[in-house]
Structures are given as structure tokens and as C-alpha cells.
Symmetry: C2
Amino acid sequence: MSLVVVGSMAFDAIETPFGKSDKIIGGAGTYIAWCASNFTSVKQISVVGGDFPQEELDALTSRKVNLEGVQIKKDEKTFFWSGRYHMDMNSRDTLDTQLNVLENFQPVVPESYQDCEFLMLGNLVPAVQRSVIEQLKTRPKLIVMDTMNFWMEIAMDDLKQTISMVDVLLVNDSEARQLSGEYSLVKAAAAIMKMGPKYLIIKKGEHGALLFHQNKVFFAPALPLEEVFDPTGAGDTFAGGFIGHIARTKDISFENMKTAIIIGSAMASYCVEKFGTERLREIGKADIDERLSQFVQLVNFDIDLV
Amino acid sequence: MSLVVVGSMAFDAIETPFGKSDKIIGGAGTYIAWCASNFTSVKQISVVGGDFPQEELDALTSRKVNLEGVQIKKDEKTFFWSGRYHMDMNSRDTLDTQLNVLENFQPVVPESYQDCEFLMLGNLVPAVQRSVIEQLKTRPKLIVMDTMNFWMEIAMDDLKQTISMVDVLLVNDSEARQLSGEYSLVKAAAAIMKMGPKYLIIKKGEHGALLFHQNKVFFAPALPLEEVFDPTGAGDTFAGGFIGHIARTKDISFENMKTAIIIGSAMASYCVEKFGTERLREIGKADIDERLSQFVQLVNFDIDLV
């Protein structure tokens, strides 16, 4: 039984108020794999061009990320995104997008991935995400889907169709409002859960994340940081920590999802400390445990009722 | 030994996207007193005009709010504020401000208040807040101060002088940035604590609140609500719950302040459910306990380190 991750592997060029990166390795699938592989082995589905460095693929393989489902289009170029963050680090302008290999991406699920128990659909064209679900002969125990406002603008019907097939949806606060047409996040969550997902995670960046299920709600804070150096991939890393913990523990209860969200938040807090995936490559078990302890300190309180 | 509260008692006229109030009872001191009196008796310092309803004063007296320090200027009018909230409920426009009795307010601390152990300075002219500290013959065990951006704009030096004399400062996130000149709240907190206060609480509205002390930080979420009906007084109510709990338990440790912040958040979550002080007048011990249980559910998680 295994965790299958679907998501882009890409080149990014990033500008923040703190600096500017070269063309570095990025992509939702990349961040998810780097993060989730701290917790469990990963079977990756993606596509890259002939220009994608072999050593990057080798680095993932050495972390038990199975790349059988990653197509390498020798004569094409890898997806490229370039963006500039504003001072608040929450908003950004896209400077350049070159779809390249993503333009006609048709994911193929290898036979060896058919034991998929947990499926993480990183942000991608909703029809591509759906195609992976449809290729699996047995429905996974848990399907988690990330998406973004872009698909709400150009492919809402398609997006809703994929959303109706998943168990957990991940969106940020403005996306939750856009998707539901409700301003109150509590009302937005109720409306979105009617679209299919039994669980909804609303990410609020530096303000933490909310997990909704039925009439229950759980809140995970973000760790207050001196500096957010580069927020790129923080949401993907969050997703990787969430699904990584769930796949490791094989427990899809609401209680375990709370822990998974704290782990996702801890991993995201590392991600933003350096450009791209740099910080994720440096950290190990001891770092993760240390940061999880900080989260316990951050929210732990005693209450003696009045 | 006692809790002394300083703050305005006022008339408010409020417009929100959900409706419009008549001229209703408001003022920082009013909210703090209504809230803190759930936890302990209160000695109030304020000023009202002859137009302030006697039944409002009687209602506070019946909750063990001592009004000996409330000046009644028979021939003058009570402070009046009118404002309109925007859709996000975080920003608002002031439509009208009539200082009236507040214009020349000189607080006088009655002899019977000299046993003050805990002092809550509600948002007011910084020099007026300071005058109360200076009139106390024995320094209270804990001085908590609320303030706002308005004083940073017109009386920064004066404000900093008062800030240097208190133990706990309460500001919101944009005020913390304005006061410190730092964008990162972690850096802002460090800078503000160098101005005097050993503890800093940064309120983030619907995004919760942070408590800083030395190199420690604690985060209290806001309860996700279906609707925020009227945010007026939420910050004052938060302060009232915070100081009320501390005065009740007489424990000024960091650990107990964490609990106090959760209680402040719970009380604020009630405040915003109806116009003005209406909801605060309705709730009792059982309601408070119920909401505190919701906060425990909201942030409680089990962690088994990786």
C-alpha cells in the first residue's frame, strides 16, 4: 500500500523583497515529494522536459521517491514559472509562465502504483487530477486535492467535477470565498463540503489553517517567524506534511488529521526560511521534532473553567 | 485588593453590513466592566454626562462594579462616537466623534481604590492613563494598557512615556507595526518590549492573538464564527476577560496569561454576536464555560513525534 503524489515538477525564478533567485527547482509535486518523503515512501506522477537535471531526479530517488510515473519528454522543456512577491508576502505577481511539457500532460498511472492507498493531487489542471483518480482500479482510502483560484476563473465546472470526487480539499481563504460565494469562512466551509469533500482545509498563510469536518472545526496556527524569506511552495509543503503523516500512520480519523495539519504547518514553516526547496533539503527528523515541540508550546494552555 | 478599570463610557451609533444601531451604550470602560465583572469585582474610573442613563449605572452597580470613581458631569454630554464598518469587519470609518466630557477629563482615583492590585488602562489619552498610575500610592502588581493607532499619530512621545510604565501592552497587528517600525510581528514584539512592557499582546481580530514575553510566544485563535454582527468593543471585551481572569486568580505568570488570553478571546467571540454590549449582558457562567470548551476543542491535538 502506498502514497501516490501527482503534481508539477518545474523551474521557478522568484523575486522577494529579500532577494532574487536564479532559475531553481520548483513545482507543487517537487515540494510535496521532498516534504512527504520525511514520513513515508512516495510514488510520484509528473512530467519534466529533457532540461530537468538528472541529479534532481536522483536526489528524489535516494529519498525513496519512486519516479516510475514521471514522464521525461527529452525534446521538450520543463514547466517554468516566474513571480514577484509583494512586501506582505501574501500577494504576488506572475511575471512569466511557460507551460511547455505541462501543456499536453496526460498522466499515466503505472501498474505498480495500483496499490495506492493515499492519493495526493497537487495543484494542476482539474481534468488531469481527475484522470489519475479514474485510472486507479481501487479507490484510495483517502484522496486529498489541492487547487487554486486560477482554475476557478477558467475551469469552474471542471474543477467542481474533480472536487466532487475527493475526500479532503485544500484551498486558501480567498479561494474558499471565491469557490463558495460566502464571505464567512464557516459558511464557505459548509457550502464547499456540500460539493463533495467530507473534509475542508482552509489555509490562511501566516494566520494558520482551519480544518472543517461536519460541524467540527480545528485550528492550527502558523509559527510566528522573524522573516518569511520565500513563501513559494509553502502550501505544497503543507500538503506534503499532511498527507505524509496520514500515510505513515494509516489513520484517517479527524483526530489524526489535526496532528497532520500541525505537521504540515511545521514543515511549511521550514520551507519559507530559504529560497525554493533549499531548506527542505537540509532538515531531518531532529529538526522536525524540534519544530513540532514549538507548536505544542505555541498553543498549549491550561483551562480551569470559571 | 482589587481590580481598577479606567476607560470611556459613551454613546455609540454603529453601522455594519448587517444593520444599524440606535444611539447605544458603548465605550472601552463599559465593555471592560461588563466583561471583567463575570470574574471579579471592579472599581471603575470614568466620566459621563448628565445624559447618561441612571439605569445603566445601576446595572453595573448590580454586577459589583464600584462607580465611586465615575464622575458625572450633570451639565455636560457623554462622549459620542459613530462609525461604519466595511464588509471585512476589520476596517471602519469614523462618521462622528463628539468628545464632550472626555475633552477635559481629569481622572481622580478615590481613596478606596488605593488597594488596587491590578490596573486595566482602557484605550484613552495616554496622559490620562498615566495620571491614574501616578495617583496610585503603591504600584499595582500588574498594569495592563490598551491603546490605538490614533495616539501614535498625534501623541507618540506621550504614548511611549505611558507605555514605558506598564507591564502588558495590548495593540493590534497594524498598530504593532506602526509603533515599532517593523513589519515582522516577531521583530515588532521584540522592539516594543524594549520600550518597557515585559509582555505584549498583539490582537489580530478574526486571526486570533499572540502573547509575547522574553523569547516566548503563545497563540490564541479566534473562534471561527458564522457571522460577526458588530465588532465594536471586541478588543475591550478581550481586555476585560484577560484582566478579569488574572484578577480572579491573582496569578501573573506567563502560563496563567495564556489562559487569560483564551478567556479574553472567548468573551470577545460573544461580544461580536450582537450590537454593542447586548450579548455581554445576556451571558453567564454556563455560556462562558461552554465557549471555553469550544476553544479547547479548537486547538487541542495529540502529537507523536516523527
